[in-house]
Symmetry: C2
Subunit: 364 residues, 2 copies
């Protein structure tokens, strides 16, 4: 087989070739060990780095006594492969060259740039803490960064953090918070032939749905970025049988709220909107303020020549934010293509991000 | 085992003992053959009857050249047994004696009375067609009476029909029709982090639920009986994942309509109420007019000294009604106890129905 999976990574190759090599190293969540082993092996010769491993999460850091420390992180797992490996190059009608395949966008191009610079930058302008972690694409309780924050919170110390999630080479700051709530109605079961003996729990959802349909989500400015919120039904369920008046119904809503609001405040908003219902908050995560008021963040945005935008989806920047470290997303690839079967990254974006990051990390 | 299942039925025993014997002959839908065999065997000596068998449905009829013919029918299957066999006698605190156990109400007491009178009435006032049929408690396509109506529609000829379904010894006329409709909404899927890119199909159900909640069901008088209608959501479903704007939702409604309306008319009412939605009628059955304006029906109600009431649930009387034969439900047992784990019939009701039916069938 000419396209057999690689077993070693050459961090001296250019970042595009390195992206291809990492993509062709399948690492669906739960199956990251081979790639993690290869990363540790590839870093073995880098004497300027202290390497720490926690499961399939690897931390590599300089200890140069610099005044400021920057943390740069990326996850090494992907969502399941769907006939989109091995990766390949393709050029579209207008001449743009892409690397196509699972992981090219989310987020092995970002990881490749990070690995290359980690090995190369022996004397960076800031002390650097690189983190490559497992289990980002699955349930939060498995997340390698969450685990590391429990085992070694000291490793998260820093003045600024960059997560290499795809952002089209722009800087996406912070993220909205999210909560899910269940709105439950009760009734009384009866045969529909004598429905006046019962009380229909599904009918009772009418006002709740009307409120959702009429809801006008806010747009909230936080640290100079405009965060657009959203409140949506994500599920509705009820029914016993085709001839029974249902005695229970459940409407599940998902509220995405600006990072200026806490989970408690967001919960109060949902509870107030559905004050006449039984409301249970079933899961929630704080958002992250963009942190773009931090000096280092402003220097970074200016240096890479990027435009700062709000991030809507919840990402692991919130973990840094929760630890008091301003954090942004910055990486090659269009987030719209993440998880898509035709996932592909423009080759030029990989090189642009590599150049910009190198320039900033080596500037005086 | 002293309580072993019987293998023969003695139609000369009293109707209470016969009810007990038939109940102790388990015959859950699909498992009626042994009981059907026993019925055929028990009728073997009745030379006044022509016996016809179709699967586990048995027809026994007189051919006396009477001016009028009455059809009397009952199903021999039951819903599943739930530790409520063998049957037993019990007396409650106020001294009422019951026969307790699966099938006592629905409807082996009725069948016992019918079998006893079929064997006994050699010279009835009307020609009689007795029908005992299988598969009433399950899907309509298995129903023995439906099958017989296809194979031998000629056997349904008659001036009046009595179905022995439990009616507390009163006469319940006709039944409401029923239809189920699916109201489907479409939207556009999107990540809830960017919900403004999508279109929420669940939210679109709000007006439909509001209309159901506000709906005031009619009460319609048909042939002197008041039929109360009902329109209910029986199921609601929608949702893709906890972070996805749903692109489809389905609300299932069940409309129970008075027998003066056809399925087509009832469908139009539902379609008009939800005119702005995609509505699909997924199943429907006509109701049955009570037929109490027929002379024989009026004579019957007067003779048995019963009160005529509307029947709400759909029953097989509708099959007779569809064939132009006025039909009523008349049998011992409280329909509320049908299918209940504590199913039980007052012994006196079995005897009352037996006496009243005999008196009417033998009067000049």
């Amino acid at each position: 087989m000419p396209d057999a999976s690689p077993t070693v990574l050459d961090l001296a190759s250019d970042s595009v070739a390195l992206t291809k090599a990492i993509c062709d190293f399948p690492s669906v969540s739960g199956d990251e060990t081979a790639l993690a082993d290869a990363i540790v092996a590839a870093l073995a010769g880098a004497s300027h780095l202290e390497v720490i491993r926690d499961g399939d999460t690897i931390v590599a850091r300089t200890n140069l006594g610099r005044a400021r420390r920057v943390v740069i992180a990326g996850h090494i797992d992907t969502v399941p492969i769907n006939k989109n490996l091995p990766s390949r190059f393709e050029t579209d009608a207008d001449g743009t060259e892409y690397l196509w395949g699972r992981g090219t966008v989310d987020m092995k191009a970002g990881v490749a740039v990070q690995l290359k610079l980690a090995a190369e930058l022996v004397e960076p302008a800031y002390d650097l803490t690189w983190m490559w972690y497992d289990h980002e694409e699955v349930s939060a309780d498995l997340n390698g960064l969450r685990r590391l924050a429990e085992h070694r919170p000291d490793l998260f110390a820093g003045d600024f953090a960059i997560l290499g999630e795809p952002s089209n080479g722009q800087v996406e700051g912070g993220c909205n918070g999210t909560l899910r709530a269940e709105i439950r109605t009760k009734g009384l079961r009866a045969h529909t032939a004598r429905s006046w003996m019962g009380e229909n729990a599904v009918h009772k959802l009418a006002p709740a749905l009307a409120r959702l349909a009429a809801y006008e989500a806010e747009t909230v400015e936080v640290d100079g970025l405009a965060y657009r919120e959203g409140l949506n039904a994500v599920a509705v369920a009820g029914g016993v049988a085709g001839n029974v008046v249902p005695d229970e119904a459940v409407l599940t809503v998902n509220y995405r709220f600006a990072p200026s609001k806490s989970v408690a405040e967001a919960s109060d908003i949902v509870r107030a909107l559905f004050a006449d219902y039984d409301v249970a908050i079933v899961d929630a995560a704080d958002g992250a303020r963009p942190g773009l008021d931090a000096a280092l963040a402003q220097e970074f945005v200016a240096a890479v020549g990027a435009e700062a935008r709000p991030k809507y989806g919840w990402t692991d920047v919130a973990r840094f934010s929760a630890l008091g470290v301003p954090a942004v997303n910055y990486g090659p690839g269009d987030p719209i293509k993440a998880h898509a079967d035709d996932e592909r990254v423009p080759v030029s974006q990989i090189l642009d991000v590599e150049r910009a990051l190198r320039a900033w990390l080596t500037a005086d």
